[in-house]
Amino acid sequence: MTGPLLEVRELRVDFPTRHGALRALDGVSFDIAAGEILGIVGESGAGKSLTGAAIIGLLEPPGRVSGGQVLLEGQRIDDLPREAMRLVRGRRIGAIFQDPLTSLNPLHTIGHQLVETLRTHLPLDAARARERAVELLRQAGLPAPEARLAQYPHEFSGGMRQRVVIALALAAEPRLIIADEPTTALDVAVQAQIIRLLRGVTQAHGASVMLITHDMGVIAETCDRVAVMYAGRIVEIGPVDEVIHRPAHPYTAGLMAAVPTLDGELARLAQIAGALPDLDAIPPGCAFHPRCPKASPRCTEERPELALVQRTRAACWWPIVEGMPG
């Protein structure tokens, strides 16, 4: 058994401003194993989308990676030249974004785009590429794929477009798919179909997935492991069932309790006081301490690192331990 498919080590992302650099990601580390689905969950501004963008070299300027390493199959990809990185994207890492239209060219038929992508990355002639395009669309659950090859993106509904994007992301048989809020723009009924598809089709292709979302429900239904982010750092990471049912970090616990659900008690929703900090005012020590019911003086001064607590790793001086009084 070789090492993990993707290794992210102490990743840092800065945004230079007139008043100095804002640190948007501060020492993010995690692995993704071959065939694994890792969820990245967090609220807006936590840095989850930035993590994905930094890995595939698509950070919006002036944001830049200011430290750390990203390794794909043991090879560093964070320091690759632009052209080499472009080949990694598509061939070895596929991307799916929230708005399918950002991934599709409105001026070309989807058949053209699929065939183009296939032939860029794989040694296929036009006829073989076309056959493969039809097969990919069929796997993505598109009815009558042959007929749809000649259609333009605007002729598809939102859900169908996202199916096309999934087909496109899988075209070159990448080892890793980075999916950033792939179902957020879709209606709930369509969302369920896309989640099911994403899970099934990536398994069939043996691809790993990094699934970025704010939706705990999507994470719970899809992922093997989950990383919870807050203010540019991972605060808890572990197997999805453990993180959901036995969270060690007070933020994870608060987040889980605040999610409205279809079952469970109809008591008042648990709420976390306050709001997420702005990047230019991230509290010292543990960034969550102003909102944390368990915060102590140590939390305001010393930053906790990820450490094993029962079956997850949490960055907290006072983690929630099962069987211990809160």
Partner: protein, 346 residues
């Protein structure tokens, strides 16, 4: 139309506890097509029916939630209820007054009614004027309505901000200095300023993070209890609706397909579409319950299917469903528009 002129809105309410009523409410939009197409087809103007024949009533202090996928007409319906859209058929009534007739009538009555109904919108970044200070934003409806003198504004605004959990010192700040959740609190303070009886909330937490969403939902619940607010709550999120609604209406392509008390809707959903929506909600607690897969997408509202509009996605559809539109009928305290339910096939 005499009732629309009634000077004291409170009067009509004494007849019953119903504060808000929709009666056969309908909204269709005419579609303009290119001239050539109109000449060639010769089939006259076409219309898109955003809302069709929707009726419901909400009692004082209660919340009706409307759910459905995008394009089902729930926002159009909400806007008609407070007079922001004019119905092409049917009536919206608040405290016994026909909303549109009253707003089009004498200025005094229109103004009195406006004070009694308010709306909170989805996007707190778009609904607050960025050039106004918070104090002015919240005081504006009070001054515009002539409910207070400018000298009294400071005190009233401070009280309103306190009631939504904001500090008095916030009056001097601008919207951009607040987070999304705080902005939605400001919108709510403004909406309750004039002492409305009826509050429409259109996806009030959809753009908020989950930890902040809980704060806003709890705040709305508190305000409703303190002020006996009657609410219409629009949402695409069934789990959120479960926490706020007394009754729930499910809309599909402009029509109500099920209207039920909360317990019935979540405990024993009748309409196949309601069941499908419930099955589609991702399960955050990770119970891994097995659910029926969801089929298809909403049909094109420009060419709605004949018969029951849901039939192309419905696992229980038969020939009757394809040709005959089901009416909303009572079925043990629940109203459902479904042949399969009516025939006992489901």
């Amino acid at each position: 139309m005499s009732e629309s002129r009634a000077p004291a809105p409170e009067r009509a309410v004494t007849a019953g506890t119903v504060v808000v009523e929709a009666r056969g409410l309908t909204k269709s939009y005419a579609l303009r097509r290119p001239l050539a197409e109109r000449l060639l087809r010769r089939d006259g103007p076409r219309a898109i029916a955003a809302v069709q024949d929707v009726s419901f009533a909400i009692a004082r202090g209660r919340t009706l939630a409307l759910v459905g996928e995008s394009g089902c007409g729930k926002t159009t319906l909400a806007r008609m209820m407070v007079g922001l859209e004019t119905p092409t058929g049917g009536r919206a009534c608040v405290e016994g007054l026909d909303v549109h007739a009253t707003l089009a009538g004498p200025a005094d009555a229109a103004r009195a009614l406006r004070r009694r109904m308010q709306m909170v919108f989805q996007d707190p970044f778009a609904s607050l004027d960025p050039r106004w200070r918070i104090g002015d934003i919240v005081a504006e409806p009070l001054l515009e309505q002539g409910l207070i003198l400018p000298a009294q504004a400071g005190e009233r605004v401070a009280a309103l901000l306190a009631s939504v959990g904001l500090a008095g010192a916030d009056v001097h700040r601008f919207p951009h200095q607040f987070s999304g959740g705080q902005r939605q609190r400001i919108s709510i303070a403004r909406a309750i300023a004039t002492g409305p009886a009826f509050l429409v909330c259109d996806e009030p937490t959809s753009s908020l993070d989950v930890s902040v969403q809980a704060q806003v939902l709890n705040l709305l619940a508190d305000l409703q209890r303190e002020r006996a607010l009657t609410m219409l709550f629009i949402s695409h999120n069934l789990a959120v609706v479960r926490y706020v609604a007394d009754d729930v209406g499910v809309m599909y392509l402009g029509r109500l397909v099920e209207l039920a008390p909360r317990g019935e809707l979540f405990g024993a959903p009748r309409h196949p579409y309601t069941r499908m929506l419930l099955a589609a909600v991702p399960d955050a607690r990770g119970t891994r319950r097995e659910r029926a897969p969801v089929q298809g997408e909403v049909s094109d509202p420009l060419a709605p299917p004949p018969g029951c509009a849901f039939h192309p996605r419905c696992p229980h559809a038969n020939e009757r469903c394809r040709v005959e539109r089901p009416e909303l009928r009572d079925s043990g305290g629940v109203r459902v528009a479904c042949h399969a339910v009516e025939e006992g096939r489901l």
